[in-house]
């Protein structure tokens, strides 16, 4: 076991991990952040996506030890003082989900786009989310939600 320190959703956490564990396992099963979903464990589906040091990563492909010192954001961290983030509101208003299994990953990808690419075109949005699979929506509503969230966060001109 190795002790690592993570800043998860703004809070410092110390966790004992083994080298055999991925960041996905630590977040989901040790820190009980159940918004982080596990699916293929092969880097193919993107469902386990989280924001690590302000970058999108597939948490099943990150070793827990590698994440030592990292700053992690999951969907649990998007709500501040009881207020949901623009991307969350946009997903609700634009019906960005059906079964909801993929939603945390897309919400985080959308959140990242809102914060880092306020001028993103539809093609750019589709490119960024291309690593995440949704079996229900056909992506249209997800793209609409991300475009709408950019507008909510940065205004019409965004």
């Amino acid at each position: 076991m190795v002790r690592i320190t993570l800043t998860v959703n703004g809070e410092k956490k110390e966790v004992d991990v083994s080298i055999s564990e991925s960041l996905l396992h630590v977040l989901r099963d040790k820190l009980h952040l159940r918004s982080v979903k596990a699916n293929c464990y092969r880097g193919e589906c993107g469902i386990c996506t989280v924001i690590m040091n302000n970058r999108l990563v597939k948490s099943c492909q990150v070793l827990a030890v590698e994440a030592d010192g990292a700053e992690i954001i999951t969907v649990e961290g998007l709500t501040r003082d009881g207020k949901i983030a623009p991307i969350q509101r946009a997903f609700i208003e634009k019906f960005g989900f059906q079964c909801g299994f993929c939603t945390p990953a897309f919400v985080l990808a959308g959140h990242w786009i809102v914060n880092n690419m306020p001028k993103a075109s539809e093609d750019e949005i589709r490119e960024i989310i291309s690593g995440i699979v949704c079996r229900c929506t056909g992506y249209k509503q997800i793209v609409d939600a991300i475009k709408y969230a950019i507008m909510l966060a940065h205004g019409e001109s965004g």
């Binding site: 396992h25 464990y41 092969r42 993107g46 999108l56 597939k58």
Partner: protein, 312 residues
């Protein structure tokens, strides 16, 4: 909770990686010491985009006991251009770092386009050029793009270092000439011939897909047979990516270009040899379709480089 997926006693993957010891050396020498000490029981970890899958599936035999993470070695993170001579890319440079490099985009366009064509943004952020080569997949995008520049790699071990041209590096799907104690240190891309332009064309089913067929080309002075240089390299049509070595001589002939292109396509198609997928079969595109893609792709990439007209 721990998951294991198996069918008829065959384990496809486990949630946990095997029991491992983890090292994060800061210098090449430290990494080489570790490789020398642990040999076959050790494994290099770069971006881990492929390694994590292989570890979960227990595919690497013998199952590794030691992991050597090379992403903190500064010397492996450098991109260096020696003007008029060569471009040297450290093994741990990521696809994204290559895409962000303007000089590579301008001078080594095929490499830039191949890097931009890899996976999705997450994979490009973590995956490395060294990992792409060392992994030695029959469908890898970077090898053909590097081969048209006659690129080579430097391999190092405690015993010393050697340079291996990429055309001599691959032995089969996921097989290469590296010894267990060797580290891929850098990729060397010689200065392109004067007047050369290059490109990479990838056929895929969706943005983040792997290649159904990937074609790299480099062209200089196409209209002048005495000075003309045309190189072609392919991925995902055989057991390894390869440079169509016959092409360079062929295109020196003083015959109509369209005839020579037809001949080159024929030679490329004759190299087809089941690019093995995960279970030894190729589900993603049948032979006829790949042969068709070789034809239209070779024509399209050369049309683009010779006439400046993009048809695909």
């Amino acid at each position: 909770m721990s998951s294991v997926v198996e069918s008829k006693g065959v384990v496809f993957w486990r949630e946990y990686f095997p029991k491992l010891e983890y090292f994060k050396p800061k210098t090449i020498d430290e990494a080489l010491d570790l490789l020398d000490k642990y040999g076959r029981d050790a494994r290099i970890k770069a971006g881990a985009t492929c390694l994590t899958r292989a570890l979960r599936a227990r595919k690497i035999k013998p199952i590794p006991k030691y992991l050597i993470d090379i992403t903190s070695i500064k010397e492996l993170k450098k991109i260096e251009y020696i003007d008029g001579n060569e471009l040297i890319i450290g093994a741990a440079v990521t696809h994204e770092e290559i895409i962000n490099n303007e000089l590579i985009k301008k001078k080594f366009t095929a490499l830039w386009e191949a890097s931009a064509n890899i996976g999705d943004i997450e994979t490009r952020y973590r995956g490395t050029i060294g990992g792409n080569i060392a992994n030695s997949s029959a469908q890898a995008d970077l090898p053909p793009a590097l081969m048209v520049f006659n690129a080579y790699v430097t391999l190092m071990s405690k015993e010393g270092s050697r340079k291996v041209p990429l055309t001599k590096f691959f032995l089969g799907h996921k097989k290469n000439v590296m010894k267990p104690n060797e580290l891929l240190v850098s990729v060397h891309v010689p200065e392109p011939p004067e007047g050369a332009k290059s490109s990479y064309l990838k056929f895929k089913r969706s943005i983040e897909d792997r290649a159904l067929v990937g074609i790299a080309a480099l062209v200089a002075y196409p209209r002048d047979p005495s000075k003309r240089i045309i190189r072609l390299a392919y991925t995902a049509i055989s057991k390894t990516p390869f440079l169509l070595s016959e092409a360079e001589e062929l295109f020196k002939q003083d015959k109509p270009l369209s005839k020579l292109i037809e001949e080159a396509i024929g030679i490329a198609q004759s190299k087809y040899g089941l690019p093995v997928g995960e279970r030894g079969i190729d589900l993603r595109a049948p032979k006829e379709y790949r042969l068709h893609l070789i034809r239209i792709g070779t024509k399209a990439i050369l049309k683009y480089l010779i006439e400046g007209i993009k048809v695909i």
